[in-house]
């Protein structure tokens, strides 16, 4: 059974009189342990797809299944509970809580879950180290560079041992070198720890070492490259 199963997913946005068809029937399967990129120009529906996969929004048609359970029709509270328990997120910007230090941010999801202080700190510290951020634990977000902030965001996501990390254009605000660095870090996490990553990007240069790429255009899957378990 796939980790993620997306069938005929549709989503339309209405702003005033204007209708935007963001997704027009997307089918997708993600297996456990994958490192997959969703690529496409802006407006192709990448973010929408990730949001729907993360139960941050509801589709207008089709379904999303996570480990066999439908997550596209959950109520607000249920969806939040599910996200907290099983998903990790990295967003394009504003990931970190400004009043918390790097280690506190990294531990945030664990704290939301009610994990005890000692264990929480241990996991957060270890996650930060995996992202090369030892020594930066007590820095506040405004004392970190953009790239460092995103690394803390990834640390937060993995510290909580999620089923999958969904990263929506995590490199969009970074320069290409830093962005590449981030993707490489994510890939090594995937390889060393088996963390499943799905991230979106419109920058083709980042796709060089990505094993599976799903190309989206106009809300549909154009084509796929590579496949599950492609090394």
């Amino acid at each position: 059974m796939s980790l993620y199963s997306v069938r005929d997913l549709r989503k339309t946005y209405r702003v005033g009189d204007v209708e935007t068809h963001a997704l027009n029937g997307v089918d997708l399967d993600i297996e456990d342990g994958e490192f997959t990129a969703i690529a496409g120009p802006s407006g192709s529906g990448k973010s929408t797809l990730l949001h729907l996969m993360g139960a941050l929004d509801r589709p207008d048609g089709g379904e999303v299944q996570l480990a066999g359970q439908r997550i596209d029709r959950l109520g607000r509270q249920e969806a939040a509970r599910m996200r907290l328990a099983r998903l990790g997120f990295v967003f394009q910007a504003y990931n970190l809580i400004p009043v918390l230090s790097a280690i506190e941010n990294a531990a945030f999801v664990l704290e939301l879950r009610g994990v005890g202080r000692v264990e929480r700190e241990r996991k957060a510290r270890e996650a930060l180290a995996a992202l090369g951020m030892e020594g930066f634990e007590d820095r506040m977000p405004n004392q970190l560079s953009g790239g460092q902030q995103q690394r803390v965001a990834v640390a937060r996501a993995i510290a909580a041992d999620p089923d999958i990390v969904l990263a929506d254009e995590p490199t969009a605000n970074l320069d290409s070198a830093t962005g590449q660095q981030l993707i490489d870090l994510m890939r090594s996490l995937n390889q060393e720890r088996g963390v499943t990553f799905v991230f979106s990007t419109h920058d083709p240069r980042l796709l060089e070492h990505v094993s599976r790429i799903v190309h989206l255009e106009d809300g549909r899957v154009l084509r796929e490259e590579g496949g599950p378990a492609a090394a």
Binding site: H51, L56, D57, A80, L84, Y94, I97, V109, L112
Partner: protein
């Protein structure tokens, strides 16, 4: 909860000036509320003291006293006997009680060529009775000590065109006494209340008894000379109840029962103070609302992420509510402490110069002995808490119901 609390605390420090100003507003309002309660307490005590000074804490009266048209309709005939029944009871319940028998006789009072209808007031003048009747007014001369001596209010003396040493004549026919008497003016009283001054004609009880009703009084006033605070007053009600039982055929009323309109006015004082305090807090609450709303709007994207991570609506609401509560309680504690210090400092008496004349026209001394009850301080603190919650309600609700995706895309 710990997370919510320390997040709230840190967020307050994020915008120090704003938080301080808002907390400061709550502090100010709390201070003002307590100061206001203090003044209200002072007014109550002042009113209490003024009223009981001139009328005593308990009065013994004949039935029908409030409807009697003629002097003889409501007299206590065996004054001496009734007094001896009152004395032991009063001595037991009150510290240093003063028992004053009063007989007021409507009469024509005449100077050399001018006359006026007055109610001649006869009473015992021993001890502090004179001081209490004067109630803070001035006496030029002395109080009557013999049955042919009289003290007149300054404006009455002017109306009759007499001064100290002059003779005045009282004519009160139709009673049981002599019906006429002559007096020598031994004192002129300058009373704070002009309405009392124009009818003030004070003489001895015996003189009045001889004039119109031998051996009788209209009432006994029992003064508790050591009762200063209205909170001490329960003993007056007890005394009234006991005397009522001990004196069949007569009425014993506490000062509140004698003057129900005053009782009503006093009863409205406290609710009014609370109402004003609530108004203060509502105004402060508007400022708090503004501050919290602003801080929520500034952080919408942040809240979007927090929702996305799965924090849950209730927790987000709690975050904002806690911020508001912490900010307001801080202000309330500071303001409450300040207010309490202020009241304590002036519990010995605060004089407000411009109010002196205004208060004197009611016969009241314009010295405020501030006092608050712990309950009132508690109310102020609790209401600050309530304000904090109420003000945060709407912004917190908004934040808790944000859609993560839209929130993260929010453009300020």
């Amino acid at each position: 909860m710990r997370l919510v609390t320390y997040l709230a605390w840190r967020n307050l420090w994020r915008h120090k000036r704003r938080s301080f100003i808002t907390a400061g507003a709550v502090a100010t309002v709390t201070f003002m509320s307590i100061a206001y309660f203090g003044m209200g307490g002072a007014a109550e005590n002042g009113l209490y003291q003024t009223l009981t000074e001139t009328s005593g804490h308990v009065q013994v009266l004949a039935p029908g006293w409030d409807q009697a048209l003629r002097l003889e309709d409501a007299l206590i005939d065996d004054a001496a006997g009734v007094r001896s029944s009152i004395e032991p009871v009063a001595a037991r319940l009150l510290e240093a009680p003063l028992i004053i028998g009063v007989l007021e006789v409507p009469a024509l009072l005449s100077g050399e060529d001018r006359s006026r209808g007055v109610a001649l007031h006869g009473q015992d003048w021993s001890d502090t009775a004179g001081e209490r009747r004067l109630g803070g007014g001035q006496l030029d001369g002395r109080l009557p000590s013999a049955n042919d001596e009289i003290v007149l209010g300054a404006s009455l003396a002017r109306a009759l065109d007499v001064g100290t040493g002059d003779e005045v004549y009282a004519y009160a026919p139709g009673g049981q006494g002599l019906g006429a008497a002559a007096f020598r003016v031994v004192g002129i009283a300058d009373l704070a209340d002009p309405n009392a001054e124009i009818v003030a004609a004070w003489t001895t009880l015996e003189a009045m008894q001889m004039l119109a009703a031998p051996g009788a009084v209209q009432r006994f006033e029992i003064h508790g000379t050591r009762l200063f605070h209205i909170s001490d007053d329960t003993v007056a009600a007890d005394l009234a109840t006991e005397l009522d039982a001990a004196l069949p055929g007569l009425l014993a009323l506490s000062w509140l029962e004698v003057s129900p309109s005053t009782a009503r006015m006093l009863r409205t004082l406290e609710p009014m103070m609370y109402a004003v305090s609530v108004m203060f807090f509502v105004l402060a609450g508007l400022l708090v609302l503004n501050t919290v709303y602003l801080s929520v709007m500034e952080r919408i994207r942040e809240f979007g992420v927090i929702h996305a991570l799965g924090a849950g609506d209730r927790r987000v609401l709690a975050m904002i509510a806690t911020e508001s509560v912490l900010m307001c309680l801080l202000g309330a504690v500071v303001g409450g402490a300040g207010g309490s210090v202020f009241v304590a400092a002036y519990s010995g008496g605060l004089v407000i110069e411009p109010l002196i004349e205004y208060y004197a026209s009611f016969g009241m001394k314009p010295i405020f002995y501030l006092s608050v009850s712990p309950g009132q301080v508690g109310f102020a603190l609790v209401f600050a808490f309530v304000t904090a919650l109420a003000a945060a309600l709407w912004p917190a609700w908004i934040a808790s119901r944000l859609e993560p995706v839209e929130a993260m895309r929010f453009q300020v």
